[in-house]
């Protein structure tokens, strides 16, 4: 496993796409949680775009979304998906392979 997926290094830029639905509580919570986490663990080296699937359905279509909110880590590879309001910090860090770096 480690050989196939070496995991991100301290220099990688994270390209993150978060898909939300308008102003719902889960969506706004997801944004707030993710912003705080990125500022803390990835200062100056993350590119976050938040897509409101209500307003920009065309941007959501290509991602084969099943549920929203969904966070997709586009870079570094491999692609990772996390569903939910991202309130479980440890799960998010693990899902993004960030626990290794930050520890």
């Amino acid at each position: 496993m480690a050989a196939e997926d070496p995991g991100p290094t301290g220099q990688d830029v994270f390209v993150l796409r978060l898909y939300v639905t308008g102003t719902t509580a889960r969506s706004t919570r997801a944004i707030a949680n993710l912003r705080e986490l990125c500022e803390q663990h990835l200062p100056e080296r993350y590119d976050l775009q938040v897509v409101d699937v209500y307003q920009q359905p065309e941007l959501a279509a290509r991602e084969q979304l099943v549920a929203v909110p969904t966070l997709i880590r586009q870079l570094p590879l491999p692609l990772r998906r996390l569903v939910g309001d991202l309130s479980n910090r440890q799960r998010v860090l693990a899902g993004l392979d960030l626990s290794v770096i930050s520890s």
Binding site: V20, T23, A25, T28, I31, R35, Q49, V50, Y54
Partner: protein
């Protein structure tokens, strides 16, 4: 199912296919609701919520709608806000709102955000757009009830560009009006169709109060046809104004207003007015009053003609004096002395007239200046008495020469040649019909005994002839033994000042007459 009770690979494949089919059905919109297990049993989530109309309303509204986290993170923004700040929507949501505010405005916004946690507030901000431009906005912020305990702040951003532009237009209009109100020159502004939209007070005074709304061509009809100088063939004022609306400048066209005795002259300048897209939206016509300049030019022409006239007259006088002096002088030396003296008298007359702008000269002053050079012994040997009298230029020159002859004669042979000699010069004005006649008596006493001259010299000739011819009067020279007596009389061809005084006297007379009649 195999012996150990685990699903076979085929069964797993079937489940996977079923799961994918289910997902596909949800994704493609083939289901209306999903069933989700909750702590109290399954819950139904319809895929279109009851709040959808409100959501669409927010998405489609003209104003920018944003929800912000407590720290200013954009949690939601509609398309209008993204357009307002010219950034892709996905780059607006999730970022800090601060990036759309100039640095110096960020503390003010932070304070507003803090306040908006409890009350609704609004302030104007100029947002910095992603394309580098700026946009004036009114930001209205207030707390939003959130589903959980967190705090969300709503923000509505209204574009003030149009309002600002309107305010600028109003301010520019007010600015223009105040300029026009204070302009002392007639200024007219018209639109692209040639209709007058604005006019200065001076223009209204010139053209009448109903100027606004009329066509410029009508407005300029106050200038009679042909009053504009320098019109090209077939190209009148109207044609020229057409050219101005086509974008050409027009300057230095002289136009005149003929009035009863007070013609006014103007220099007409006109230029096109442009809007922000360089389209001609009208023109401005300005008239500069050059009446005073024109009068000065005319006056200068008159002066030049007058100067030429005077030089000719003076040369004629000099020639006559030279010829007469030559005829009567016994020697070259005598000629030189007499000629110089007479030229000096002529120069004195010119000097006196120049002081008054060649309009008139005071008779008393004239006599004083003439006899002064001969008062070598006593200054009180001459006495003058008479009313203040002003002589017009032609009479000044003649009188100066006459007085000179009398004075030089008195100094050589008469009263002024003796220490106790005395000359009395007295004059009075007598009214004869419509004319005023000057009587002047030159009386010498205390001089040597007088004998009539053996032959008539230049002096006598000049006195008698010039008084008769130049002044249309008479001169009588009486050689009494005790001294010469010369009596002159001639009509005063009134100087401007005399006429004025006369008019004032008449008016005063009328007034007192009137008063005495009303009293009786």
């Amino acid at each position: 199912v195999n012996d150990s009770g685990e699903p076979t690979l085929d069964q797993l494949r079937a489940r996977l296919a079923e799961a994918e089919e289910t997902l596909q059905a949800i994704r493609s919109g083939a289901v209306d609701a999903v069933v989700v297990d909750g702590p109290d049993g399954p819950r139904i989530y319809t895929l279109k919520g009851a709040d959808e109309p409100y959501r669409i309303l927010v998405e489609r509204m003209q104003e920018g709608a944003v929800t912000l986290g407590e720290d200013g993170t954009v949690l939601f923004a509609n398309g209008s806000f993204a357009s307002l700040v010219t950034a892709p929507l996905e780059q607006v949501i999730g970022g800090a709102l601060d990036r759309f505010l100039p640095e110096h405005e960020q503390p003010r916004f932070a304070a507003l955000l803090q306040e908006a946690r409890s009350v609704s507030v609004r302030q104007e901000f100029t947002l910095r757009r992603a394309d580098g431009g700026e946009v004036a906005t009114l930001l209205s912020l207030g707390p939003l009830p959130a589903e959980d305990d967190g705090l969300v702040i709503s923000m509505i951003a209204s574009d003030l560009t149009e309002q600002k532009r309107t305010e600028q237009v109003v301010a520019a209009e007010r600015f223009l009006r105040s300029i026009l109100e204070q302009a002392t020159e007639p200024i007219v502004i018209c639109d692209a169709a040639g209709t007058v939209t604005h006019a200065s007070q001076a223009a209204l005074a010139l053209s009448g109060p109903d100027l606004i709304g009329r066509s410029l061509v009508q407005a300029l009809a106050v200038f009679p046809p042909g009053s504009a100088d320098g019109q090209g063939p077939g190209l009148g004022l109207t044609g020229r104004l057409g050219e101005v609306l086509g974008g050409r400048m027009l300057s230095g066209l002289e136009v005149s207003l003929t009035g009863e005795g007070n013609a006014r002259h103007y220099l007409l300048s006109a230029g096109p007015l442009y809007d922000a897209r360089d389209q001609v939206v009208g023109c401005m016509v300005m008239l500069t009053d050059i009446t005073a300049r024109k009068r000065a030019e005319e006056h200068q022409q008159v002066l030049l003609a007058e100067l030429s006239h005077r030089v000719k007259n003076t040369l004629a006088s000099v020639r006559a004096i030279a010829a007469q002096t030559l005829r009567t002088a016994p020697s070259v030396e005598a000629f030189q002395g007499a000629f110089e003296g007479r030229l000096k008298a002529l120069a004195l007359a010119h000097g006196l007239l120049t002081q008054t702008g060649w309009s008139e000269a005071d008779l008393g002053e004239l006599i004083r200046q003439t006899v002064l050079p001969y008062l070598t012994k006593r200054t009180d040997s001459v006495s003058l008495s008479g009313p203040t009298t002003y002589l017009p230029p032609r009479q000044v020159v003649t009188m100066m020469l006459v007085m000179h002859e009398l004075a030089i004669n008195a100094a050589k042979y008469g009263a002024l040649s003796r220490e106790n000699g005395h000359v009395t010069i007295a004059w009075a004005i007598d009214r004869q019909g419509s004319e005023r006649v000057l009587h002047l008596l030159w009386t010498e006493t205390g001089g040597p005994p007088v004998r009539p001259p053996e032959r008539t010299g230049f002096g006598t000739t000049l006195i008698e002839r010039s008084i008769a011819h130049e002044l249309e009067g008479s001169a009588v020279l009486e050689y009494r033994p005790e001294g010469l007596v010369c009596e002159l009389q001639f009509p005063l061809r009134g100087s401007a000042r005399d006429l004025l005084r006369e008019a004032e006297n008449s008016a005063e007379q009328l007034r007192s007459d009137l008063e005495s009649r009303t009293q009786s």
